[in-house]
């Protein structure tokens, strides 16, 4: 049964990802008083990239892209199989590392700088996500997703600050301003497209598909904060994503030093407060 869920999840995740990304672009356009692209625009982009002439900058680059995709797929599959949260996260990290290695392979300054910045982004969000997961463990007594679904109250009520911390990680992972430091969605800037500069054609399409999977995974993790009703889950996800788009539109890109300092300090303080509150409130 879990295998069926996992397979279904892996098959449908990219389509859901396309719809979410399309909606994202339309909403962003509306915020800027534009009409925006069609809803299926991300699908068109990927389809077009897939059909382009194969062009690579290094022989191992497609390998890295494929492993990135595979890791993202496996982590989504594990998520829908209601597996271990930490394991899901570590599998996801394989993909992140291979994306960076792929960018490191090519001696273009944009790609190199992007790869280094991507590493700093990983450095910034990884502890936060591990702490959030550990907070969930503290509350439910398990790292398994099935244990969260067994709770009768939504996690958000007891882990509100951890949800905010998770929001930081979400913003970094979705490559939204102010944290679109290693590769922004819009490439007309000093870093060209940073970590993605040297991926092109089908390799880039693979990276984009993997990014769709990651979006689904990270939103899936987000949904764990409200598991008691479907309506609550949808509302929470919609509000969170809307907040992400608003933040993306109202803020500029920041430097990685600022990101590391501000996110770590805020994130660690917020999560420490939440965890201590859990401890002292006798809620666990």
């Amino acid at each position: 049964m879990t295998l069926v869920y996992a397979t279904l999840g892996v098959i449908f995740a990219p389509f859901a990802g396309i719809l979410i990304a399309g909606l994202d672009r339309i909403l962003t356009a509306r915020f800027q008083s534009r009409t925006g692209p069609p809803l299926l625009q991300p699908l068109y982009d990927i389809g077009k990239l897939w059909g382009k002439e194969p062009m690579i900058a290094h022989r191992f680059q497609p390998l890295c892209a494929y492993i990135y995709l595979a890791a993202a797929m496996v982590s989504v599959g594990l998520f829908f199989a209601q597996s271990d949260l930490l394991l899901i996260f570590f599998v996801q990290a394989v993909g992140a590392v291979f994306l960076v290695i792929g960018a490191f392979l090519v001696p273009s300054p944009f790609s190199q700088a992007g790869a280094n910045r991507e590493l700093i982004q990983i450095l910034t969000y990884e502890p936060l996500i591990i702490i959030v997961l550990a907070g969930i463990h503290l509350y439910t007594g398990s790292f398994k997703i099935s244990a969260i679904y067994a709770m009768d109250k939504p996690l958000l009520l007891n882990l509100p600050l951890l949800f905010i911390v998770f929001g930081y990680a979400l913003t970094i992972k979705l490559r939204k301003s102010p944290f679109d430091i290693s590769a922004s969605h819009h490439a007309h800037q000093e870093l060209v497209r940073g970590v993605l500069t040297e991926y092109s054609g089908r390799t880039l399409a693979i990276v984009e598909i993997a990014h769709l999977y990651e979006t689904i995974l990270i939103l899936g993790l987000c949904s764990l904060f409200w598991t008691t009703s479907v309506l609550g889950m949808v509302v929470l996800l919609a509000l969170t994503y809307l907040a992400e788009i608003v933040v993306d539109n109202i803020s500029a890109r920041m430097s990685f030093r600022w990101m590391l300092k501000s996110v770590w300090s805020t994130g660690l303080v917020l999560s420490a407060i939440n965890l201590i509150w859990l401890y002292s409130g006798g809620r666990i």
């Binding site: 077009k48 500069t197 092109s200 089908r202």
Partner: protein
Amino acid sequence: MLKKIIEHSQVKSPWLVHYDCGSCNGCDIETLACLTPLYDVERFGVLNIGNPKHADVLIVTGTVNKRNKKVLKQIYDQMPSPKIIIAIGACGLSGGIFREAYNVVGGVDKVIPVDVYVPGCPAKPEAIIDGVVEGLAKLKELQQASTPDTDAIAS
């Protein structure tokens, strides 16, 4: 099915890279104006991607001179096909008023093949958008002319 999607997508998502060969910036301003909310070319999936390796459409403004023709050639070479080239403004078309200058090579088509010519000094944004749409029709032709991408479909 997959082949259809890919063929359909190829005209729905033109990502462009804009290269200023030595324009007076008139045409550049008009080109960038297309991206503003007023004209909003993202309606057609157009994105200014800034990286030849990701781009499908190369928009060139200004006269080509002996110095920057190599850069122009390089950008062209770094774009994966299918790709279309749009020359913008009088200078891009023929060298314009700089045509006779000692260092000027001439129009863009002296260096790389141009698919669409958008005249004007400067070219109007509407004309540029029209040029891109025209280019997409060409892209479709290019696609039908070339042999179907079989291994893309197989995988």
